[in-house]
Every structure is written in structure tokens, then in C-alpha cells.
Subunit: 239 residues, 2 copies
DNA sequence: TGTCTTATATGCAAGATGGATATATCTAGT
DNA sequence: ACTAGATATATCCATCTTGCATATAAGACA
């Protein structure tokens, strides 16, 4: 957009003023599906506030850094994960959400295949969703013994909203492929849907619907060494 | 959440540091449906930058103010509208989206019935959506002569994203009622859907679907003085 | 009283969905 | 070599939803 020289003069001499500004952070719900459940990545806080509690990967946004870049930087630094699917979730702005100071957090979610998740650094926790459908609400993250990790700040809300959003989007946006390897069977695809929605799906209807959707195409390959009839492998159909 | 005395000590002596922080603003896409189209409210900018161009209502978020409160304050101050349906849309954080300084904008949308919209202060513009379905992209706002208002900053993107979001949500979240008066006919309801989706709907299917959805109930009243058989009036069904 | 306009009711075809049944094909084990 | 076990794949059918057509109803107005 062309600006007039008068406007450029204004901008050259603009004084932003000294009113108090909030800090802005990003937090990332990194999700995968494995063993019939959703999993996420947490980090135990070593500093106050909420020391000892478990937090999502996140941190402050640089003054010249986009939100997306901040998310990518955090994912790389904390989780050692790069180049994954990320979408903005919601911006949490309650004045008292951090006891230190005003911090506005732009929460995001990232979806990765289980293999990428396994290679990430951090504490893996199984996500337990205590509500059905798209009701929403906080969710718990369970450790290996089935005990919930105490979560820091409003991160239980962020997780819950991420699950709610993904449950809703799954019906009409092909985000399930972000959670699957490059080639997959119909059973694997169905398991992803079942894990996210928390309920079983009709096998044949799922097959018919997905095959008829035009979203996937057969690779021509099949499984091998699976102890039963091998399933055909499919890949995401790229327009 | 109970905090240890040690943690409280930490917070008492916490130094937030002096790193540079962005400004945070809210912008609001105020939408209604009238005369078979979506309308929104704009304000011509009287100051640089983008002086003379047209902007959505919005402004900075107070340091102790929630995002929702900031939106309500802006709507009341700029549009003289209170107590309406508001949801968060998306947070726009590109470093160069405002030439003055780093401003991160949490965009929201508000849905109001036409009668509320008519009572609002500001420039009313008809929204023209140059894409079908949920493709997305910027939209135009037309003045009375059908000429587009030149929009400030990234506000065309905000408008476009609002339309895209509402088109998508309309299918499975009963947000249409926010755009209708307390009691309405099936024709009025259908016009809202048609205006948002930008396409005609089958009259009988719409009737059957909406009546069968359980979302509305008959008031027992009918129209009068409409020059044809009066339609039954319905209201939103409150669980 | 007739005409115009929209509302409302009913029926039907096409398609989507859920579910049952039958058959196919692989591995592991005897 | 054969069998058991497991899952894949194909076909069929009942049900539900949706789009569309047809028929009738009810008010305003000339």
C-alpha cells in the first residue's frame, strides 16, 4: 500500500507513548494419536510460578517475531520438532492468568504423526477427556500410572479447547492426515478418528465414507507381516 | 490454587524485566443480516496511519482489562451497542501489520439482529463476498452506491475470516438466532442462512430440518397484515 | 367474490448411513 | 500341508435425510 509523504513523515516522528503493555506469549498443544488415545507433550516447570507443575511448551513472542515463528521456535527449542502442522487455537487474555504480570497467551495446536511424537523431547502424557461430544471443558493428562499431571496456569483449559476444536474440525476438515504416516491403512485412519472422538465408529460406514470422499488414494502397496490378511495402503490425495 | 509462601515471596519480589513488549488491541467485526445481505459497521480514520481509510471498531486492551471487556468497551464507545453476542475470531500478529509499532490484534466478531444494528453508530456497509463456500479470503464492504470502502490495515482479512468462520459454524452451531429478533418466521430464518451462505436454500427442506432440529418452538402467534397468509412465529428453544 | 402471495402438509426419489452377512487372504502354529 | 485365527473386502438391505414436486390453506386487497 502506497503511503503519502505526509503519512511517512507522521510515521517517522511517531511516538508510541509509554503506556503499560502486556507481555504476549504462545503456548502449543502438541497432539498425536497412539495406542487408541491422544497424547500430548508437557514440561515440568523448574521455576516459580507454578514450579513443579506441568506446562505446555511455550514462551514469549519476540518483538519482531510473528506468532507462527514464535510457535515454530518453541517447538524446535523445547520439543525438537520442526515443520509440523500448526493452527491457532484461541487467545487467553484473563488479566490474572499469570500471577507475575499481564501475559496474553495465543494458544496453538500442532498435530503430528506418532513417529514424530516419539522423537520429540518432553514428557509424554495420555490425554483423558472427561466429556463426550463437543461439550468442552478441561481435560486431564495422565502419566504412566494413570495419575494426572498437575497442570500449570490455564493449560488444562487450553488442552480442553484443543480437543474440542479438533473434535469439531475432524468432521469437515481433513486434519486426520496430519496425525497419520504418509501411507496408512483404513484401520489406522479409523483408529485416529475413534481416539479423537472417544467412541467407536462403524467399520464399513467409515470405509465407504472415506473411500468415497476423494480424500485418499490407494498406493498400490499392502501391509506385510501383520499376522492376518494385509490391508491395502492409502495416502492422502493431493489435489 | 493455593501457592506456597515461598512462591508468594517469589511473586512479591518478581522483576518483570524491561524487554520490549507489543501493544495488544481488539478489533470487532459487527455483523447483521438485513435485506438479504450481511452488513458491517466501519469508521473512517481521522488520523494517520491509513487516514481516510475505513476501519473496524477496535482499540488497545487495558493492562488490567480482559479481551472480552475490551471488546465490550469498544462496542459501547464506538457503536453504542451493548450486551450482544461476541466470540473471538483470530489473533493477527504479523510484525508489520501496523506501521507505527508492533500491535497484535485479537479480532472478534459480534452478531446482532438488524434492529440493534440500525440503532448502532457508525457507517453501515453491505458485505460483498467474492468467493463461494468456505474458501476464504478478503471481502469487500460496499457503500450505498455499490463502491467499496477502502479498508485500513488488515481489516479486509478480518472481515473475510469472520465470514468464513460464520459460514462454517452456521451448520452446526445455532448462531443464526443471534441475528434474528426474539420471534421470527421460518422465512426470516431462511433469509439469514441464505444471506450468510450466499446461496438459495430449498424452502421445504429448510422447514423440515429446522422444525425437526428441536432448536425452535412455536410461539403460538402468527404474523398479521402481511398481504398473504400469515406465517407462524417461532422463538429459539431454550433448554 | 375472486386473485395474489406465501404458508403448510404430504409424498416420492435419490443419496447417505448403519448394520449384517459372506468371502478373501495373510501369518502362525501343528 | 493343513488348520485356526485374525482382519480385509464386497455385497446387500433397512433406515434416515435431503431435494423436489404437488396439493391445499389462509390472509390481504381490489
Amino acid at each position: 500500500m502506497a503511503r503519502s509523504s505526509e503519512e511517512l513523515d507522521f510515521l517517522r516522528t511517531y511516538d508510541p507513548g509509554s503506556f503499560e503493555r502486556p507481555s504476549v506469549a504462545v503456548d502449543v498443544v502438541l497432539l498425536t494419536v497412539r495406542d487408541g488415545a491422544m497424547w500430548t507433550l508437557l514440561y515440568q516447570r523448574t521455576e516459580h510460578p507454578d514450579r513443579g507443575r506441568y506446562a505446555l511448551p511455550g514462551g514469549f513472542v519476540g518483538i519482531e517475531e510473528s506468532l507462527e515463528d514464535a510457535v515454530a521456535r518453541q517447538l524446535k527449542a523445547k520439543a525438537a520438532v520442526e515443520g509440523v502442522f500448526v493452527e491457532q487455537l484461541y487467545t487467553f487474555g484473563a488479566p490474572d492468568r499469570d500471577p507475575r504480570m499481564r501475559i496474553i497467551a495465543a494458544a496453538h495446536y500442532a498435530l503430528v504423526p506418532a513417529a514424530v511424537f516419539d522423537g520429540a523431547t518432553g514428557l509424554q502424557g495420555r490425554v483423558r477427556v472427561p466429556w463426550e461430544g463437543e461439550v468442552g471443558g478441561p481435560v486431564e493428562v495422565l502419566d504412566g500410572d494413570g495419575d494426572p499431571y498437575p497442570l500449570a496456569f490455564d493449560h488444562a483449559d487450553m488442552l480442553g479447547l484443543a480437543v474440542q476444536r479438533i473434535r469439531g474440525k475432524l468432521s469437515y476438515v481433513p486434519i486426520a492426515f496430519e496425525l497419520l504416516p504418509a501411507s496408512f491403512t483404513l484401520l489406522e485412519a479409523r483408529r485416529v478418528y475413534e481416539a479423537i472422538w472417544g467412541r467407536d465408529l462403524n467399520k464399513d460406514s467409515f470405509r465407504k465414507t472415506l473411500l468415497g470422499s476423494g480424500l485418499i488414494e490407494a498406493t498400490g502397496e499392502r501391509q506385510s507381516g501383520v499376522g492376518h490378511r494385509p490391508a491395502a495402503l492409502y495416502r492422502r490425495w493431493e489435489a
